[in-house]
């Protein structure tokens, strides 16, 4: 690493810069006087910019760090109470977890956006809703300009001429170079966070940044090494304020970047800049940005190999998404071909479209085990296994309807700056909170393997072999298997999803199809549809904590597996069988997102042969119809030691559910889940 970059990197690793943050917010909070919430939001951003201190260091070329620790809520306590009483609130009611249209902002500059607003605002009466929306958007651009001006002055003061010079031009105008494009991106990303937006994804960086990169490389203005250095700096910068970004756990901040895949024109995107990004991530070892690679049947082995080098680092990414499954699935859901081809992932793995979608792909989660257990509570009522399955499916369908009903009457805070960053909000004089071209909701599907394994155990032990009666099994579950050790051992020994055994895998296929059927044809109040998924998010903990013992041998309160993965309480034949099992469901029908997760002991990567073969394995998964995969290189002993001696493992990074974070910064329940995942891996 170059000395300059090393300095920035060290500054981040030491964390001392955090002491430079303002102890108390300097925001006067006058914005509450504004009644119109869109304009109020814009005024809050203006106040935040006003209160921010431009903070640069001599070694920065891009820089920027937050000094405001907290942003005041948009609503007063009283207003919030009223809203909570009247509406359904999701994730704090802020817009987030969507993908901005960085491309159009870069192409036209914010001046382009302003011109568009100027043109549109003339169509509306002063004080009308549309007028106010556009006016608010205009104010946010002014705020971003003020922020840029502050940083320009600071750059001048410190003698960072190139930054001062770049800020002379961006964000108002389209960048003249890759460097300027990076500065503009940093400013836009920084502003979205300062605007209280959540889970601000980075999107298809190698698509919207490529023209600037390519032009500079072609003209000789920039060498590849310089591009790598600048990209690395931009990556480090994304980490400085990450502890301030809201999420369920620290690290859950949504800064996912997507590389490669089919372009809107149908051609492969993966380019030299994609490689530069992978190299930057490889040399930095940081949790942000979280790298995703889009792949497909035409993806070369080399791409998988580069990705696997990152896996080997133990960062828990890249995550792979399979275009051959995802694009047709999105089109089936109603996305236009060009949009489907342009998909990215949201904070974790949900498939969303940049610029034109305000999908809420994580609005709630189905608990497969809960649905199963509700039926199993009446086990003696069913003479045959198909009768039990029919009851399970009846419950599942009913749960789908409940989930759908619970999404009604949603309230989302307006976000004029996020609206500026979308493709059509200005043209339609509409805040993004009021929807976009796509307004679909997605439900996760947590605990699939727990449910499928449980049903397989019931089928085998109660119906096929008649080894236990329904009453005995129910009593054992009630007693949390205490006093039923033999029965428990038989439950554990029953077929498990992940061993390529149709006995249980076929049950998983039925369950997932039923989930898809249960949502089919339903419309949400914003005109969108409901998407079924394979993710778990934090629901593998939330939905399992209070759930009793299950017939697969899981004790009461034990977690499900995260995402789309085999259960934690059994040893499996191996990854080939796991891949077979988990590609059996009709993945195109449950394509909201949620990866198959595979854990590998880090010694597997001890020489290049291991790395090559893991790359081949991912390719195998993709070529056999897997939709999404995420791999971990991990060592249980290291994690145990980190629990005992956190001071020795400050930079230990682990994958949690859809994101990577620092092990030390996780609650112990999440730490223990990761350790448990690895019990059978040695």
């Amino acid at each position: 690493m170059e000395e300059r970059l090393q300095k920035i990197y060290d500054r981040f690793q030491k964390r001392e810069y955090r002491n430079l943050r303002q102890k108390e917010s300097a925001m006067p909070c006058k914005f509450y006087e504004e009644k119109d919430l869109a304009i109020r939001s814009a005024r809050r951003l203006m106040e935040a910019v006003e209160a921010e201190k431009a903070m640069l260091f001599a070694e920065d070329k891009i820089g920027m760090m937050r000094t405001l620790q907290k942003l005041p809520p948009l609503l007063t306590e009283k207003e919030a109470e009223e809203v909570r009483a009247k509406y359904f609130i999701f994730d704090g009611a802020q817009v987030g977890n969507i993908s901005s249209d960085y491309a159009s902002a870069l192409q036209g500059g914010l001046e382009g956006k302003l011109k568009e607003i100027e043109k549109e605002i003339k169509k509306y009466k002063t004080g009308s809703k549309e007028y106010n929306e556009l006016y608010a958007m205009n104010l946010t651009i002014d705020a971003v300009y003020a922020l840029a001006e502050k940083y320009k002055k600071e750059a001048e003061k410190l003698g960072i001429k190139e930054l001062a010079c770049a800020l002379e031009h961006v964000p108002a105008h389209s960048p003249k170079s890759y460097y300027e494009a990076l500065v503009m991106m940093r400013l836009l990303n920084f502003s979205l966070w300062l605007n209280a937006n959540k889970h601000n994804t980075i999107g298809r960086f190698d698509v919207y940044m490529y023209p600037y990169f390519q032009a500079d490389i072609a003209s000789g203005k920039l060498t590849r090494e310089e591009a790598l250095e600048l990209t690395s700096e931009f990556f480090i910068d994304l980490n400085f304020d990450a502890d301030l970004y809201p999420g369920v756990q620290q690290g859950d901040n949504g800064q996912s970047m997507v590389l490669g895949g089919m372009g809107t024109d149908g051609k492969e995107v993966f380019n030299e800049l994609s490689k530069v990004c992978l190299e930057a991530s490889l040399q930095l070892n940081l949790i942000d940005p979280k790298i995703n690679i889009r792949v497909g049947k035409n993806t070369s082995y080399d791409t998988y190999y580069l990705g696997t080098l990152l896996t080997k680092k133990g960062l828990g990414f890249p995550q792979y998404s399979n275009d051959d499954v995802v694009i047709p699935a999105l089109m089936e859901m109603g996305y236009e071909e060009e949009d489907a081809r342009n998909y990215v992932v949201a904070a974790c793995w949900e498939f969303i479209i940049p610029g034109v979608a305000y999908d809420i792909p994580n609005i709630d989660a189905l608990s497969y085990p809960n649905v199963m257990l509700t039926a199993a509570e009446k086990l003696e009522a069913f003479d045959t296994f198909p009768a039990l399955m029919a009851e399970v499916k009846k419950n599942l369908t009913a749960t789908c309807k409940q989930l759908i009903a619970s999404t009604k009457n949603i309230f989302v805070e307006p976000s004029p700056f996020q609206s500026v960053m979308m493709t059509n909000c200005i043209k339609e004089a509409k805040d993004i909170a009021d929807g976009s071209k796509y307004n679909n909701y997605g439900f996760h599907g947590a605990g699939l393997s727990t449910a499928a394994d449980s049903l397989a155990a019931i089928k085998k032990l109660v119906y096929d072999e008649k080894k236990y009666t329904a009453e005995e099994l129910k009593a054992a579950l009630k007693a949390n298997f205490k006093g039923y050790e033999k029965l428990h051992a038989d439950c554990l020994a029953a077929p498990k999803m992940g061993n390529n055994d149709d006995y249980v895998d076929s049950i998983a296929v039925e369950l997932t199809d039923c989930f898809a059927d249960g949502l089919k044809g339903e419309k949400n109040e914003r005109g969108g549809i409901f998407r079924a998924g394979t993710g778990s998010a934090m629901y593998y903990i939330w939905l399992s904590e209070h759930l009793g013992a299950t017939p697969d041998g899981r004790y009461a309160g034990e977690p499900f597996s995260a995402n789309y993965s085999p259960s934690l309480n059994v040893k499996f034949d191996g990854v080939l069988s796991v891949i077979h099992s988990f590609t059996k469901p009709n993945l195109g029908r449950i394509c909201n997102g949620g990866p198959l997760t595979l854990e590998f002991h880090d010694t597997l990567f001890r020489n290049d042969e291991g790395t090559q073969k893991v790359a081949q394995l991912v390719k195998l998964f993709v070529e056999n119809g897997g939709h999404q995969m995420q791999l971990n290189a991990i060592n249980r002993d290291t994690l145990l030691d980190a629990q005992k001696h956190p001071e020795d493992h400050k930079n230990l990074i682990v994958r949690v559910w859809g994101w990577s974070g620092y092990f030390n910064e996780l609650d112990v329940v999440y730490q223990n889940h990761i350790i448990k995942r690895l019990e059978f891996l040695s």
Binding site: A489, V570, G574, R606, G610, L617, K619, L620
Partner: protein
């Protein structure tokens, strides 16, 4: 129908031959290599073993045990473990059963240029079994390989060599006395079988575990290089001593007593082999 005792089938084993492979570990070995990291593979008998991680020390397994003087693998303790940590090591398979099991992933193995590797223990203890099974796998297009210490009768060795696609052949200790001291067996049958392998025309790779002060001495490595030179071997794979070797002994109720200094660095002298024109790779 032939039968074999298998103690593990490992999918996606990456260091056991070309491509993505499934490795079958047969139970039982005539050798007693001092550094063996797979003590489960020594006895040909089915055993009861307990996984080292996750034990609650609840005492349930000890309470039910009726053979405290010596385990007879009755398996009574298996079902009482609340964590499911105790299991049988060793499953008897007929050729048909093992074939069916391996066939389930054969599509992936073929697609990824891999196949099935038979290891152990010593797979040649099951020469008749392999002689029957390997052609069945080849019939459905699956590449086959063995990993062997080379210690077997000429007849058994040839039985397998005549059908298998690829051989990973261990050359451990070349000195006759030291071989007995460290591997518990004479190396004469091994060296004889190595000559047979050379003549067979089967593709093969030499393999040497690098044990500090035992196999990794300049003298031993030179002797191995002399042997491998012009033998037709594709090269040699050097496997540095695994410091975790002793970790599985308690699992099978044994103790690990290395007669060498575990902590000293291994001499992974790739250069020595290169001087002989041998492709050497550290695994």
């Amino acid at each position: 129908m032939k039968q074999a005792i298998v103690f593990s089938i490992e999918e996606f084993s990456v260091y056991d031959g070309p491509g993505i492979r499934t490795t079958v570990f047969f139970k039982g070995c005539p050798m007693r290599c001092n550094w063996c990291h797979n003590p489960e593979g020594l006895s040909q008998k089915i055993q009861v073993v307990k996984a080292p991680n996750g034990c609650l020390h609840c005492g349930a397994c000890e309470k039910i045990c009726a053979h405290k003087d010596g385990c007879v693998a009755c398996g009574n303790c298996i079902s009482v473990c609340p964590r499911g940590l105790i299991r049988y090591s060793g499953v008897a398979y007929t050729t048909k059963e093992l074939f069916e099991k391996l066939k389930k992933n054969s599509d992936y193995l073929k697609q990824a240029g891999g196949g099935v590797t038979f290891s152990g223990g010593e797979c040649l203890l099951y020469a008749d079994f392999l002689h029957e099974l390997i052609p069945m796998l080849k019939e459905i297009g699956v590449h086959t390989a063995i990993q062997t210490s080379g210690y077997a009768s000429e007849a058994d060795f040839m039985k397998v060599i005549s059908v298998v696609d690829y051989v990973m052949f261990d050359l451990k200790v070349m000195d006759r006395e030291k071989a007995i001291e460290y591997t518990g067996r004479s190396n004469e049958p091994i060296l004889r079988n190595f000559e047979l392998l050379k003549k067979s025309g089967v593709k093969f790779m030499a393999r040497t575990p690098l044990i500090p002060g035992v196999t990794d001495t300049e003298e031993n490595l030179t002797a191995i290089a002399e042997k491998v030179k012009n033998s037709g071997a594709l090269g040699i794979e050097l496997l540095p001593y695994n410091k975790m070797s002793g970790s599985k002994y308690t699992m099978v109720g044994m103790e690990y007593h290395p007669k060498f200094d575990e902590k000293s660095e291994v001499n992974a002298n790739v250069e020595l082999f290169r001087r002989y024109g041998i492709q050497a790779k550290i695994m």
